[in-house]
């Protein structure tokens, strides 16, 4: 039983990281209708920029994170305004490949700058464990969960309690009517992309400081595991993305803990994709999604 609770806590921590990336995906999807794979590149950059500022220049950790988050938000804004907006053929495939191209451009630059070894971001969250009843929980899992809750809570407050959030929701539900009310689509799209960039960078930092983490080129692949989360939750639903991310994180950790050896090496890593294939076949619109996926 305590095993189960332990796996659940670490699964929640992992799920929070997926949820951050996944919410970024859906925010962009809602505002621009693009599934931006570049999120993976921003996860990568977020972690490396934090490493550079914290370990390289000796900045305090939280300042380094803030810088990385700000830079990634700005980069995603640039990606939208300088690259994505110039596209003429607006098919989903072309848009996805375009964002793939941006990711592929970032990877070699990161590797040339910082090498391909695993770098240590230090232990900003501490290494202690806390005894919660029968369960031993690492402090960094608690920090990861706490920080994610704050970040995600901030996003939902932004959506639901501010003027710009209202504008973003209006623009997403009916762009023309929103424009007629004086809402600038450029502004709402820009805010969405910047927000998604910031979330990805923050998730990158959390992934790099997680157990068995470290700053590494493979972080971009970890972001691919957030794709099943958004399909599980529904492409257009930020709430769904959070639930999907948590579910994927939880089930992945449970799979890591309980799957028999006969399922083979790397089963827990492939588990989200197995879930995704099943979801797309059974319920392509996800748990919370509306009917947006068209079938042949």
């Amino acid at each position: 039983m305590s095993d189960f609770l332990q796996l659940t806590i670490s699964g929640l921590a992992l799920g929070c990281q997926y949820a951050l990336v996944a919410v970024g995906f859906t925010v962009i999807m809602k505002s621009s209708g693009v599934l931006s794979i570049f999120q993976g590149g921003l996860v990568l950059l977020g972690a490396y920029l934090t490493y550079q500022a914290h370990q390289g220049w000796g900045w305090p950790f939280f300042l380094a994170v803030a810088m990385a988050v700000a830079v990634c938000a700005a980069l995603n804004l640039l990606a939208e305004s300088q690259v994505l907006s110039r596209i003429r053929v607006r098919s989903n495939e072309v848009l996805i490949f375009l964002t793939f191209g941006l990711l592929l451009a970032v990877q070699p630059l990161v590797e040339s700058m910082w090498g391909s070894d695993i770098l240590n971001l230090g232990d900003p969250w501490g290494l202690r464990s806390v005894q919660l009843g029968p369960v031993t929980v690492t402090e960094r899992d608690l920090w990861t969960i706490g920080a994610s809750v704050i970040a995600l809570g901030g996003v939902f407050l932004l959506f639901n309690k501010t003027r710009i959030g209202l504008a973003m929701r209006a623009a997403a539900s009916d762009p023309e009517a929103a424009t007629a009310q004086g809402i600038s689509p450029r502004l709402t799209q820009g805010v969405s992309w910047a927000l998604a960039g910031a979330l990805a960078a923050f998730a990158g930092v959390l992934m790099a400081t997680a157990v068995g983490g470290g700053v590494r080129p493979g972080l971009a692949d970890v972001a691919f595991a957030a794709l099943p989360a958004i399909y599980l939750g529904g492409l257009n639903s930020p709430i769904g993305a959070v639930v999907g991310g948590l579910l994927i994180g939880l089930t992945q950790q449970w799979a890591a803990g309980y799957a028999p050896d006969s399922f083979g090496q790397g089963f827990s890593a492939v588990f989200p994709y197995l879930v995704m294939v099943v979801i797309l076949l059974v319920r392509p619109q996800g748990i919370f999604g509306g009917k947006v996926v068209s079938r042949a």
């Binding site: 191209g101 451009a105 995704m276 996926v293």
Partner: protein, 386 residues
């Protein structure tokens, strides 16, 4: 994608057959000329496939030719699915892996000769394609792309754990039988001259490439191919016009995965030592980039893209004097030739998608039109002078 009229589609494919007038005299002559041109091109293709690898002595250039051949083959398969049917997929690494390991099973474990294991690989690829095809049938608009990414990760898990065949994470050596009777494509001897293993394999791969290009081109210009293009341009309209979505999509998916499987077997033979990580998402991305940069939906696109892909790292290695380019042993700030070429592919992918979605082929065609137009103008001016 915008709708194109039939005439435009035909022109784009270089067919140039007038609609609804199949039997007039000039058309028949044009048909015959077209047939001769096609047969001539195929003959030249076969001769080049044999002669070019054998006449190039440079070890690196031969490797480029072989790599380009393997990637051409894979991209030709992807072209049917992405270029003509319009369904982008990143699942090719998975099908190539299937082909590689089935090839190893048939060729090494069962000891089948070349002409026997190739059909086995093709059938295995087609079968796996038919099994995963329903994914393509159910999903549209980029979702297949995402599922196919998942497929690659699932494939890696399968390959890592099928230890008996794949050697697990540590991999295994590959030594496929490559002989047809006295002709051994692992060790070609023609008229007393012995060629290297890479040269011999390159000849085999390019012969297969020419066949695959002809097959895919014929499919693309058949009734099924027209159905595919109709689906690409407007699925609803195609369906309403009586095009069977199921047949066209399944067909494209099956043929495309079969060709990918064969490319995978040759890819394995080229590597000589195969690890499950050889079939990672990176391989899928590389093939997609080859097709997009070269020009998807065209016959020459995959070939041009593949040569560009294989040549760029080699050319960059010779450009060590450029700023920020590191030689293999150099340390410090900068990009190695491999990193720089990956960066160039990525930037080129973005630029091509933004400004010329039909790829380098289209750029070359435009250049050619400009040149011929200029020549025509000049000859006309000369005639005027006289």
């Amino acid at each position: 994608m915008t709708m194109r009229t039939d005439a435009e589609v035909n022109r784009a494919d270089g067919v140039g057959v007038a609609l609804g007038s199949a039997d007039t005299q000039p058309d028949r002559a044009r048909h015959r000329r077209q047939l001769l041109v096609t047969l001539g091109a195929v003959a030249i293709g076969f001769v080049a496939a044999i002669a070019v690898p054998l006449s190039v002595g440079d070890r690196f250039l031969v490797t480029v030719i072989l790599t380009a051949g393997v990637f051409t083959l894979a991209a030709v398969g992807l072209n049917l699915l992405s270029g003509y049917l319009g369904e982008a997929s990143l699942g090719h690494a998975f099908f190539m892996g299937i082909g590689a390991y089935v090839g190893i099973w048939a060729g090494e474990t069962l000891g089948l000769p070349l002409l026997a294991w190739i059909p086995v690989v093709l059938i295995a690829g087609a079968a796996v394609g038919a099994l995963t095809g329903p994914l393509a049938l159910r999903l549209r608009g980029g979702h297949l792309l995402i599922v196919s990414i998942g497929l690659v990760f699932i494939g890696q898990w399968i390959f890592t754990n099928a230890r008996d065949l794949t050697g697990g994470p540590n991999g295994r050596p590959v030594n496929l039988p490559l002989a047809i009777g006295p002709i051994d494509f692992g060790d070609l001897v023609i008229g007393g001259t012995r060629y290297t293993a890479v040269q011999s394999l390159a000849v085999l791969v390019w012969i297969v490439c020419v066949i695959a290009i002809v097959v895919v081109r014929n499919i693309a210009r058949s009734r099924t191919g027209r159905a595919m293009r109709a689906i690409r341009d407007n699925e609803l309209a195609a369906s309403a016009s009586g095009v069977s979505l199921f047949r066209a999509k399944m067909g494209a998916f099956i043929v495309s995965s079969a060709i990918a499987a064969l490319a995978g077997a040759f890819f394995a033979q080229q590597l000589r030592y195969l690890e499950p990580t050889s079939f990672s998402l990176l391989l899928s991305i590389q093939i997609a980039v080859v097709l997009i940069i070269g020009g998807s939906g065209s016959t020459a696109g995959p070939v041009i893209g593949a040569f560009f892909f294989a040549l760029t790292p080699l050319l960059l290695q010779r450009l060590e004097w450029l700023p920020f380019v590191l030689s293999p042993n150099e340390e410090g700030f900068g990009l190695t030739a491999g990193e720089l070429s990956n960066f160039i592919f990525a930037v080129l992918l973005v630029l091509i998608l933004l400004f010329e979605p039909e790829g380098i082929v289209r750029l070359l065609a435009r250049l050619w039109n400009k040149i011929t137009a200029a020549i025509k103008r000049r000859t006309r001016a000369k005639i005027g002078e006289n």
